[in-house]
């Protein structure tokens, strides 16, 4: 059975705990970004674009066996890395769990600046959009 949302958060916190300096952290993040499969062009539609980003970011979501699955892509690799973590934490859980998830790992791994309203990387919008999907699908689940 898959890890719970919080288990995955703990895992990420542990992984990032191995790095002392920001450069190593970002290299790891970039690596995560590169490894994210991304989206095929058919899902890179206007409707899937997340607003408020300097780079374009797309989010695609669908239900499978009562679980919400997220797939996403971005032109910028750091954003992709951040997204890849969000997907690892949230994708494959029930809409109810996603809706009530508290994403404390972002702060703990020292990436909270990317969640600031003022960042034009759209991470905050991304989280909001994921929760919106969860809300929308929660009736169906």
């Amino acid at each position: 059975m898959a890890l719970s949302i919080n288990d995955t958060q703990e895992e990420l916190i542990e992984e990032f705990g191995l790095f002392d300096d920001w450069a190593d952290k970002y290299e790891y993040l970039i690596d995560l970004g590169k490894k994210l499969p991304g989206l095929s062009d058919e899902f890179k539609t206007e409707e899937n674009v997340i607003k408020g980003c300097q780079s374009r970011v797309w989010l695609h979501a669908f239900m499978q066996d009562g679980k919400l699955i997220f797939q996403a892509d971005s032109e910028a690799v750091i954003v992709k890395g951040l997204i890849s973590m969000l997907i690892r934490v949230l994708s494959g859980h029930s809409p109810a769990d996603i809706m009530k998830a508290d994403l404390y790992f972002i702060d703990q791994i020292g990436m909270s600046q990317h969640l600031a309203q003022t960042r034009s990387n759209g991470l905050l919008s991304m989280v909001k959009q994921m929760k919106n999907y969860a809300l929308a699908y929660s009736s169906q689940a």
């Binding site: 300097q54 600046q113 600031a116 309203q117 003022t118 960042r119 034009s120 990387n121």
Partner: protein
């Protein structure tokens, strides 16, 4: 709670001599003085964080953006607005009113429509309506004012009766004579007759609590410089559906979503109405005005100002030939007056020699002066940092000035 002496120390400008006498600043309706914390915030911004906002990803840009948006939140809570994206930054009350006239007005006014303004208005809440009315063939009609300086609500109701009024534009408080208008009632009446209403809060914000939702306001406008904040910042609050339905005002950076030569789409609220680099530093420093006001004991400002108003009214009335213009039962701490046989300008020039700053003239309310058939008034307008001793000196100097002039 700090003593008034301590509070005065928070306002560095007050501690100076003018023409050999200690400055007495009774021109608060024109602009208020700034507490040291506002100056400090300005200085801190420029010496630590200065950067252009919203699209930057470097540290300074992020700090500046966060601080800028924090002020928006503080204004939201000051006004008790639903949401911070209904708080639009402009360059002043005047700009806020023009924004509504040129967007809401341009999109909605038609020939034959009526726009109501009161006879108590500041030019900034008259001329923008005259301009758009002229362009659209609409008509600006006037809510008359009674001899006391109170609006004639019966006449207001009659004007609304035909249901051809599209918008009412009225100030919460008259800058020239201090009348507090019964806006709650006026808003309800406007809405009952299908009219929207804009409240010009330039003169009320420094003196009383505001609640745009409880009052059911459509639009509310004010200036930071009259609320202990910097010059060059204004605010427009609007109901969400109205703001969303309005076309943009100025075009430029920030207010767009996508620009191309084949077509441009506009950004969301509030940015849709905030074209160009905003007044970043002053918006950020304005935040400190709210911190300062919140540090004062609740209710104290109104209490102190009401005491000053009663005392000034009482003391000034004892001067021979002095007539107070505007005797509404509900007033903020503003006393406008004339002294028989003298011209306001002469009074103003001589009081300045005694270090006392009042305002003389028409106070940008010429239609009100015409209504009372006077060339202008002398206006002493108080803030919480003023004292009874200062009023005593005003009265003493006025007596001296009158003997010089008569």
């Amino acid at each position: 709670m700090a003593s008034i002496e301590q509070i005065r120390l928070d306002f560095p400008v007050l501690d100076q001599q003018v023409n050999g006498s200690p400055l007495i600043y009774f021109d608060n309706a024109a602009t208020t003085q700034k507490p040291q914390v506002v100056l400090d915030a300005l200085n801190k911004y420029y010496s630590e964080d200065n950067a252009n906002i919203h699209r930057g990803i470097h540290a300074l840009a992020e700090r500046a953006t966060a601080a800028f948006e924090l002020t928006r939140k503080k204004i939201q809570s000051f006004l008790h607005a639903e949401s911070s994206d209904q708080i639009i930054f402009t360059s002043g009350t005047t700009a806020s009113i023009n924004l509504v006239a040129q967007t809401y007005g341009r999109a909605n006014f038609e020939a034959g429509d009526k726009i109501l303004v009161s006879n108590l208005e500041h030019h900034s809440n008259i001329v923008p309506w005259q301009m758009i009315a002229l362009e659209k063939g609409a008509e600006v009609m006037v809510i008359p004012v009674l001899d006391s300086g109170v609006l004639d609500l019966d006449a207001y109701q009659k004007l609304l009766q035909e249901n051809t009024v599209k918008l009412v534009a009225v100030n919460h408080v008259s800058n020239a004579i201090g009348t507090i208008n019964p806006i709650q009632e006026m808003i309800a009446l406007a809405h009952a007759h299908g009219a929207k209403i804009l409240i010009d809060g330039a003169q009320s914000v420094a003196h009383m609590e505001m609640d745009v939702q409880r009052f059911d306001m459509d639009f509310f406008a004010f200036s930071a410089h009259k609320l202990f904040g910097p010059t060059g910042v204004g605010v427009l609050y609007g109901k969400r559906d109205l703001l969303e339905s309005m076309p943009p005002y100025q075009g430029g950076g920030e207010m767009i979503k996508e620009v191309s030569f084949s077509g441009t789409t506009y950004n969301e609220l509030p940015y849709k109405f905030e074209a160009g680099t905003p007044n970043i530093a002053d918006v950020i420093a304005f935040s400190a005005s709210f911190d300062y006001l919140n540090s004062l004991e609740k209710g104290w400002v109104e209490e102190q100002e009401n005491a000053l108003l009663s005392y000034a009214t009482e003391q000034l009335s004892q001067i021979d030939g002095l007539k107070i213009i505007g005797t509404a039962p509900n007033k903020i701490a503003v006393v406008s007056f004339l002294i028989e046989g003298t011209h306001p300008q002469d009074i103003g020039v001589l009081l300045d020699k005694f270090g006392i700053a009042i305002r003389t003239g028409h106070h940008c309310a010429q239609p009100l002066m015409q209504r009372f058939d006077i060339p202008g008034t002398c206006r002493a307008s108080f803030s919480f940092y003023n004292t009874k001793e200062e009023i005593d000196r005003l009265v003493a100097c006025l007596k001296r000035v009158v003997t010089m002039l008569l």
